[in-house]
Amino acid sequence: MKNEMRLTLVSIPSNVAVARIAVATFAASQGFSVAEIEEIKVAVSEAVSNSVLHAYPDGTGEVTVRAIHEENESGRGELVVEVMDHGTGIGDIAKAKEPGYSTIPEHMGLGFSFMESFMDSLFLESQPEKGTLVRMVKRQCRQ
């Protein structure tokens, strides 16, 4: 059965934890393992941190986190996580995804690398002044 969670947050740092705990709780309720949930938490943290840090340079705005759990064609459970903002967008997606690239001091520039490593797929769409959508999929090992 398809299940879905949607959460809209103000883009402030303390809401990064709110987003990852909410998605982790949702994933746990859908039977994801502790190890899988740890990986999902990192990926959500990275995506929401990006929106908080970069989307609204002049203040705050909304970040929407959506988690959908459903079975794929082969009957395997999968979690789709979408993190969306309506901010400035990413000018150069290829550059933003480059490991080690960051515009902020003391930041590793590894957010997208971690999302790619910890999830099974990553899709990124961004339009200048319209916003950014990150869609990540985690397939469930245990049924």
């Binding site: 740092p13 303390s14 990064v16 934890a17 990852r20 740890e38 938490k41 990192v42 943290s45 990275e46 941190s49 908080v52 840090l53 960051s102 003391e106 930041h107 590793m108 520039g109 590894l110 957010g111 690398s113 971690f114 490593s117």
Partner: protein
Amino acid sequence: MSFHRSPSCLIVRMSGELDLSSAGVFRDKVDEELRRTGAPNLILNLEGLDFVDSTGLGAIFGRHRQVTLGGGKMILTAVPPKVQSMLEMAGLASVLPSERTDRDALRVIGSALQGGAPR
């Protein structure tokens, strides 16, 4: 996060989560404590660290740069397995020295001090 002092070394025991909301506080508090105590070396005990993401790793790496720029040494201790695997993914495992316990780290720092002492 709690601070402990041994000769020439500040020991910071981490707890909870290190992410965008806590990285700034972590950075400011550790830097302030390093300044206040004048300790050249830093031990970061990660045993109680429940969660870290790339922002948190950046703050840890930033302290390493800070300490090594001042001629000191930073050593991580009691690194939980999941944090260790993230350090490896970030390419930091080979850059940031780590020891099993604070005592081991103190021994490493102590022998470095002895080796570097003027004769």
